[in-house]
Symmetry: C2
Subunit: 178 residues, 2 copies
Protein backbone atom coordinates (compact mmCIF):
# COMPACT_ATOMS: atom_id res chain seq x y z
CA UNK A 1 0.00 0.00 0.00
CA UNK A 2 1.15 3.47 -0.80
CA UNK A 3 0.26 6.48 1.35
CA UNK A 4 -1.33 9.21 -0.76
CA UNK A 5 0.84 12.28 -1.13
CA UNK A 6 -0.39 15.81 -0.43
CA UNK A 7 -1.27 16.55 -4.07
CA UNK A 8 -3.22 13.28 -4.44
CA UNK A 9 -5.27 14.02 -1.33
CA UNK A 10 -5.84 17.62 -2.43
CA UNK A 11 -7.19 16.32 -5.76
CA UNK A 12 -9.88 14.37 -3.85
CA UNK A 13 -10.92 17.38 -1.75
CA UNK A 14 -12.89 20.53 -2.50
CA UNK A 15 -11.05 23.82 -2.78
CA UNK A 16 -11.61 26.21 0.13
CA UNK A 17 -13.84 28.27 -2.10
CA UNK A 18 -15.94 25.25 -3.14
CA UNK A 19 -16.10 23.94 0.42
CA UNK A 20 -17.49 27.27 1.67
CA UNK A 21 -20.49 27.18 -0.70
CA UNK A 22 -24.00 26.61 0.70
CA UNK A 23 -24.91 23.80 -1.77
CA UNK A 24 -24.63 20.11 -1.03
CA UNK A 25 -23.89 20.38 2.69
CA UNK A 26 -24.80 17.67 5.21
CA UNK A 27 -28.14 18.71 6.80
CA UNK A 28 -26.89 19.21 10.34
CA UNK A 29 -26.17 22.31 12.40
CA UNK A 30 -23.93 21.91 15.44
CA UNK A 31 -25.04 24.17 18.30
CA UNK A 32 -22.21 24.70 20.79
CA UNK A 33 -23.83 25.29 24.18
CA UNK A 34 -21.35 27.29 26.26
CA UNK A 35 -18.22 25.34 25.40
CA UNK A 36 -15.23 26.67 27.26
CA UNK A 37 -12.11 25.66 25.34
CA UNK A 38 -10.93 27.35 22.18
CA UNK A 39 -9.09 24.16 21.27
CA UNK A 40 -12.30 22.14 21.43
CA UNK A 41 -14.08 24.74 19.31
CA UNK A 42 -11.21 24.71 16.80
CA UNK A 43 -11.26 20.92 16.63
CA UNK A 44 -15.04 20.96 16.12
CA UNK A 45 -14.55 23.35 13.18
CA UNK A 46 -11.96 21.02 11.64
CA UNK A 47 -14.26 18.00 12.03
CA UNK A 48 -17.18 20.02 10.65
CA UNK A 49 -15.22 20.82 7.50
CA UNK A 50 -14.60 17.08 7.06
CA UNK A 51 -18.29 16.30 7.56
CA UNK A 52 -19.27 19.42 5.58
CA UNK A 53 -22.19 20.20 7.87
CA UNK A 54 -24.49 23.13 7.24
CA UNK A 55 -23.19 25.44 9.97
CA UNK A 56 -21.85 25.84 13.48
CA UNK A 57 -23.82 28.00 15.89
CA UNK A 58 -21.78 29.18 18.87
CA UNK A 59 -23.86 30.16 21.88
CA UNK A 60 -23.31 32.13 25.09
CA UNK A 61 -19.70 32.26 26.17
CA UNK A 62 -18.53 29.71 23.57
CA UNK A 63 -15.45 31.31 21.98
CA UNK A 64 -15.98 32.03 18.30
CA UNK A 65 -13.96 33.27 15.33
CA UNK A 66 -12.00 35.39 14.81
CA UNK A 67 -9.69 33.95 17.49
CA UNK A 68 -6.14 32.94 16.65
CA UNK A 69 -6.28 29.82 18.85
CA UNK A 70 -9.49 28.60 17.20
CA UNK A 71 -8.18 29.16 13.69
CA UNK A 72 -4.92 27.38 14.47
CA UNK A 73 -6.62 24.24 15.84
CA UNK A 74 -9.25 24.43 13.07
CA UNK A 75 -6.49 24.57 10.43
CA UNK A 76 -8.52 27.47 9.01
CA UNK A 77 -11.73 25.45 8.70
CA UNK A 78 -13.38 28.66 9.94
CA UNK A 79 -13.10 29.70 6.26
CA UNK A 80 -15.09 26.70 4.99
CA UNK A 81 -17.74 26.11 7.68
CA UNK A 82 -20.43 28.81 7.99
CA UNK A 83 -20.90 29.99 11.58
CA UNK A 84 -23.07 32.36 13.54
CA UNK A 85 -23.03 33.48 17.16
CA UNK A 86 -26.16 33.63 19.35
CA UNK A 87 -26.46 35.10 22.82
CA UNK A 88 -28.93 32.48 24.02
CA UNK A 89 -29.77 28.84 23.35
CA UNK A 90 -33.43 29.83 22.84
CA UNK A 91 -32.45 32.03 19.88
CA UNK A 92 -30.13 29.43 18.34
CA UNK A 93 -32.70 26.65 18.67
CA UNK A 94 -35.53 28.86 17.34
CA UNK A 95 -33.40 29.57 14.27
CA UNK A 96 -32.93 25.82 13.67
CA UNK A 97 -36.64 25.12 14.23
CA UNK A 98 -37.49 27.74 11.63
CA UNK A 99 -35.37 25.65 9.20
CA UNK A 100 -37.50 22.57 10.00
CA UNK A 101 -34.76 20.83 11.94
CA UNK A 102 -35.21 18.24 14.68
CA UNK A 103 -33.41 19.39 17.84
CA UNK A 104 -31.22 16.67 19.40
CA UNK A 105 -28.94 16.95 22.41
CA UNK A 106 -25.78 14.85 22.64
CA UNK A 107 -26.23 14.09 26.33
CA UNK A 108 -26.84 11.32 28.83
CA UNK A 109 -30.46 11.71 29.90
CA UNK A 110 -33.17 9.40 31.17
CA UNK A 111 -34.51 9.23 27.60
CA UNK A 112 -31.33 9.12 25.49
CA UNK A 113 -31.17 6.72 22.55
CA UNK A 114 -27.88 5.32 21.28
CA UNK A 115 -26.32 7.21 18.40
CA UNK A 116 -26.33 3.82 16.63
CA UNK A 117 -30.13 4.12 16.41
CA UNK A 118 -30.07 7.36 14.42
CA UNK A 119 -31.85 6.91 11.08
CA UNK A 120 -32.48 8.76 7.83
CA UNK A 121 -35.69 10.22 9.26
CA UNK A 122 -33.78 12.15 11.92
CA UNK A 123 -32.55 14.79 9.48
CA UNK A 124 -32.30 17.72 9.10
CA UNK A 125 -30.92 17.84 12.64
CA UNK A 126 -29.59 20.47 15.02
CA UNK A 127 -27.16 18.68 17.33
CA UNK A 128 -26.56 20.41 20.67
CA UNK A 129 -23.07 19.88 22.09
CA UNK A 130 -22.65 20.77 25.76
CA UNK A 131 -20.06 22.28 28.04
CA UNK A 132 -16.98 20.20 28.91
CA UNK A 133 -17.93 19.86 32.59
CA UNK A 134 -21.64 20.53 32.92
CA UNK A 135 -22.87 19.09 29.61
CA UNK A 136 -25.92 20.33 27.72
CA UNK A 137 -27.74 23.02 29.70
CA UNK A 138 -31.17 22.50 31.25
CA UNK A 139 -32.47 25.26 29.00
CA UNK A 140 -31.31 23.44 25.87
CA UNK A 141 -32.57 20.05 27.08
CA UNK A 142 -36.02 21.53 27.72
CA UNK A 143 -36.06 22.78 24.11
CA UNK A 144 -34.78 19.52 22.57
CA UNK A 145 -36.92 16.85 20.88
CA UNK A 146 -34.51 14.04 21.49
CA UNK A 147 -31.22 13.10 23.14
CA UNK A 148 -28.52 10.74 21.89
CA UNK A 149 -25.66 9.22 23.77
CA UNK A 150 -22.53 7.32 22.79
CA UNK A 151 -22.38 3.83 24.33
CA UNK A 152 -19.62 3.73 26.95
CA UNK A 153 -18.05 0.50 28.21
CA UNK A 154 -15.37 1.52 30.72
CA UNK A 155 -15.14 3.51 33.94
CA UNK A 156 -15.03 7.10 32.66
CA UNK A 157 -18.28 8.99 32.32
CA UNK A 158 -17.75 10.57 28.93
CA UNK A 159 -15.47 11.30 25.99
CA UNK A 160 -13.71 14.57 25.32
CA UNK A 161 -16.32 16.89 23.76
CA UNK A 162 -14.50 17.28 20.43
CA UNK A 163 -14.06 13.50 20.15
CA UNK A 164 -17.71 12.87 21.09
CA UNK A 165 -18.80 15.38 18.45
CA UNK A 166 -16.68 13.60 15.81
CA UNK A 167 -18.07 10.19 16.72
CA UNK A 168 -21.66 11.47 16.61
CA UNK A 169 -21.43 13.48 13.40
CA UNK A 170 -19.75 10.69 11.41
CA UNK A 171 -22.33 8.23 12.73
CA UNK A 172 -24.97 10.67 11.42
CA UNK A 173 -23.29 10.62 8.01
CA UNK A 174 -23.19 6.81 7.98
CA UNK A 175 -26.80 6.53 9.14
CA UNK A 176 -28.14 8.90 6.51
CA UNK A 177 -26.19 7.24 3.70
CA UNK A 178 -27.68 3.75 4.28
Amino acid sequence: MKRLIHAEIAAERLSEEQAAQPEGRFPLIAILDNIRSMYNVGSIFRTSDGARIEAIYTVGYTPHPPRKEIEKTALDATRTVPFKHFKTMAEAIADCRSKGMKIAALELTDKSRSIFDIGKGDFPMALVIGNEITGVSDEALALSDEAYSIPMFGAKHSLNVAVAYGVAVFECIRARSK
Copy 2:
Protein backbone atom coordinates in the same frame (compact mmCIF):
# COMPACT_ATOMS: atom_id res chain seq x y z
CA MET B 1 -35.73 14.97 29.56
CA LYS B 2 -33.59 14.91 32.65
CA ARG B 3 -29.80 14.90 32.46
CA LEU B 4 -28.38 11.99 34.46
CA ILE B 5 -26.55 13.07 37.59
CA HIS B 6 -23.05 11.91 38.44
CA ALA B 7 -24.22 9.02 40.66
CA GLU B 8 -26.67 7.75 38.02
CA ILE B 9 -23.94 7.71 35.36
CA ALA B 10 -21.48 6.05 37.76
CA ALA B 11 -24.05 3.29 38.39
CA GLU B 12 -24.03 2.49 34.64
CA ARG B 13 -20.23 2.34 34.44
CA LEU B 14 -17.66 -0.18 35.62
CA SER B 15 -15.54 0.64 38.63
CA GLU B 16 -11.89 1.44 37.83
CA GLU B 17 -10.95 -1.97 39.17
CA GLN B 18 -13.52 -3.78 37.02
CA ALA B 19 -12.63 -1.70 33.95
CA ALA B 20 -8.96 -2.67 34.26
CA GLN B 21 -9.67 -6.42 34.09
CA PRO B 22 -8.65 -8.40 30.99
CA GLU B 23 -12.06 -10.09 30.49
CA GLY B 24 -14.72 -8.86 28.10
CA ARG B 25 -12.67 -6.22 26.33
CA PHE B 26 -13.32 -5.13 22.74
CA PRO B 27 -10.89 -7.11 20.52
CA LEU B 28 -8.85 -4.19 19.24
CA ILE B 29 -5.36 -2.95 20.06
CA ALA B 30 -4.50 0.64 19.14
CA ILE B 31 -0.89 0.98 18.00
CA LEU B 32 0.29 4.58 18.26
CA ASP B 33 2.94 5.06 15.59
CA ASN B 34 5.17 7.92 16.73
CA ILE B 35 2.46 10.30 17.87
CA ARG B 36 3.91 13.58 19.06
CA SER B 37 1.40 15.21 21.38
CA MET B 38 0.81 14.12 24.97
CA TYR B 39 -2.66 15.62 24.76
CA ASN B 40 -3.55 13.43 21.79
CA VAL B 41 -2.19 10.37 23.60
CA GLY B 42 -4.19 11.30 26.72
CA SER B 43 -7.35 11.78 24.70
CA ILE B 44 -6.80 8.40 22.99
CA PHE B 45 -6.54 6.79 26.44
CA ARG B 46 -9.81 8.41 27.52
CA THR B 47 -11.58 7.24 24.34
CA SER B 48 -10.06 3.76 24.76
CA ASP B 49 -11.54 3.46 28.24
CA GLY B 50 -14.95 4.32 26.77
CA ALA B 51 -14.53 1.71 24.03
CA ARG B 52 -12.86 -0.68 26.48
CA ILE B 53 -10.36 -1.91 23.89
CA GLU B 54 -7.82 -4.59 24.69
CA ALA B 55 -4.76 -2.37 24.97
CA ILE B 56 -2.81 0.62 23.69
CA TYR B 57 0.67 0.01 22.32
CA THR B 58 2.80 3.15 22.21
CA VAL B 59 5.67 2.98 19.73
CA GLY B 60 8.89 4.90 19.11
CA TYR B 61 8.82 8.45 20.46
CA THR B 62 5.09 8.35 21.30
CA PRO B 63 4.89 9.71 24.85
CA HIS B 64 3.58 7.09 27.28
CA PRO B 65 2.55 6.89 30.94
CA PRO B 66 3.59 7.85 33.51
CA ARG B 67 3.39 11.46 32.30
CA LYS B 68 1.36 14.05 34.16
CA GLU B 69 0.04 15.66 30.97
CA ILE B 70 -1.17 12.33 29.58
CA GLU B 71 -2.89 11.34 32.81
CA LYS B 72 -4.61 14.71 33.08
CA THR B 73 -6.06 14.59 29.55
CA ALA B 74 -6.85 10.87 29.99
CA LEU B 75 -8.75 11.63 33.21
CA ASP B 76 -6.73 8.72 34.63
CA ALA B 77 -7.86 6.25 31.96
CA THR B 78 -4.23 5.09 32.08
CA ARG B 79 -5.42 3.10 35.09
CA THR B 80 -8.13 1.24 33.17
CA VAL B 81 -6.59 0.67 29.72
CA PRO B 82 -3.65 -1.78 29.57
CA PHE B 83 -0.67 -0.33 27.71
CA LYS B 84 2.78 -1.38 26.63
CA HIS B 85 5.65 0.48 25.01
CA PHE B 86 7.62 -0.86 22.02
CA LYS B 87 10.76 0.61 20.49
CA THR B 88 9.80 -0.33 16.93
CA MET B 89 6.65 -0.81 14.87
CA ALA B 90 7.96 -4.23 13.78
CA GLU B 91 7.93 -5.45 17.39
CA ALA B 92 4.50 -4.00 18.17
CA ILE B 93 2.96 -5.46 15.02
CA ALA B 94 4.63 -8.87 15.55
CA ASP B 95 3.09 -8.96 19.03
CA CYS B 96 -0.38 -8.31 17.57
CA ARG B 97 0.13 -10.89 14.82
CA SER B 98 1.03 -13.46 17.46
CA LYS B 99 -2.41 -12.75 18.95
CA GLY B 100 -4.04 -13.56 15.59
CA MET B 101 -4.98 -9.96 14.88
CA LYS B 102 -5.52 -8.39 11.48
CA ILE B 103 -3.26 -5.34 11.11
CA ALA B 104 -5.09 -2.28 9.78
CA ALA B 105 -3.71 1.23 9.28
CA LEU B 106 -5.97 4.27 9.66
CA GLU B 107 -4.48 6.08 6.68
CA LEU B 108 -5.25 7.43 3.23
CA THR B 109 -3.59 5.02 0.81
CA ASP B 110 -4.20 3.89 -2.75
CA LYS B 111 -5.99 0.83 -1.32
CA SER B 112 -7.90 2.25 1.66
CA ARG B 113 -11.47 1.12 2.27
CA SER B 114 -14.01 3.33 4.05
CA ILE B 115 -14.36 2.68 7.78
CA PHE B 116 -18.06 2.23 6.99
CA ASP B 117 -17.13 -1.04 5.23
CA ILE B 118 -15.60 -2.62 8.34
CA GLY B 119 -17.41 -5.87 9.23
CA LYS B 120 -17.53 -8.49 11.96
CA GLY B 121 -14.87 -10.53 10.14
CA ASP B 122 -12.26 -7.80 10.59
CA PHE B 123 -11.69 -8.58 14.29
CA PRO B 124 -9.56 -9.06 16.29
CA MET B 125 -7.85 -5.97 14.86
CA ALA B 126 -4.72 -3.99 15.54
CA LEU B 127 -5.43 -0.43 14.40
CA VAL B 128 -2.35 1.65 13.58
CA ILE B 129 -2.74 5.38 14.28
CA GLY B 130 -0.11 7.61 12.70
CA ASN B 131 1.78 10.77 13.52
CA GLU B 132 -0.08 14.10 13.46
CA ILE B 133 1.83 15.43 10.45
CA THR B 134 3.35 12.48 8.60
CA GLY B 135 0.64 9.86 9.22
CA VAL B 136 1.26 6.12 9.46
CA SER B 137 4.92 5.31 8.74
CA ASP B 138 6.06 3.47 5.61
CA GLU B 139 7.35 0.70 7.86
CA ALA B 140 3.94 0.19 9.45
CA LEU B 141 2.10 0.39 6.11
CA ALA B 142 4.39 -2.30 4.67
CA LEU B 143 3.45 -4.55 7.60
CA SER B 144 -0.31 -3.84 7.45
CA ASP B 145 -2.93 -6.10 5.87
CA GLU B 146 -5.40 -3.35 5.22
CA ALA B 147 -5.96 0.39 5.42
CA TYR B 148 -9.13 2.26 6.35
CA SER B 149 -9.97 5.89 5.87
CA ILE B 150 -12.69 8.20 7.12
CA PRO B 151 -14.72 9.75 4.29
CA MET B 152 -13.98 13.47 4.07
CA PHE B 153 -16.26 15.96 2.33
CA GLY B 154 -14.64 19.38 2.78
CA ALA B 155 -11.34 21.06 1.98
CA LYS B 156 -9.13 19.86 4.86
CA HIS B 157 -7.08 16.72 4.35
CA SER B 158 -7.74 15.00 7.66
CA LEU B 159 -9.24 15.10 11.15
CA ASN B 160 -7.29 15.64 14.35
CA VAL B 161 -5.70 12.28 15.21
CA ALA B 162 -7.57 11.83 18.51
CA VAL B 163 -10.89 12.64 16.81
CA ALA B 164 -10.12 10.29 13.90
CA TYR B 165 -9.28 7.53 16.36
CA GLY B 166 -12.59 8.06 18.19
CA VAL B 167 -14.60 7.98 14.95
CA ALA B 168 -12.84 4.80 13.80
CA VAL B 169 -12.99 2.86 17.07
CA PHE B 170 -16.69 3.56 17.67
CA GLU B 171 -17.43 2.59 14.07
CA CYS B 172 -15.60 -0.68 14.83
CA ILE B 173 -17.86 -1.20 17.86
CA ARG B 174 -20.99 -0.54 15.81
CA ALA B 175 -19.83 -2.78 12.96
CA ARG B 176 -19.04 -5.72 15.22
CA SER B 177 -22.34 -5.44 17.12
CA LYS B 178 -24.56 -5.77 14.02
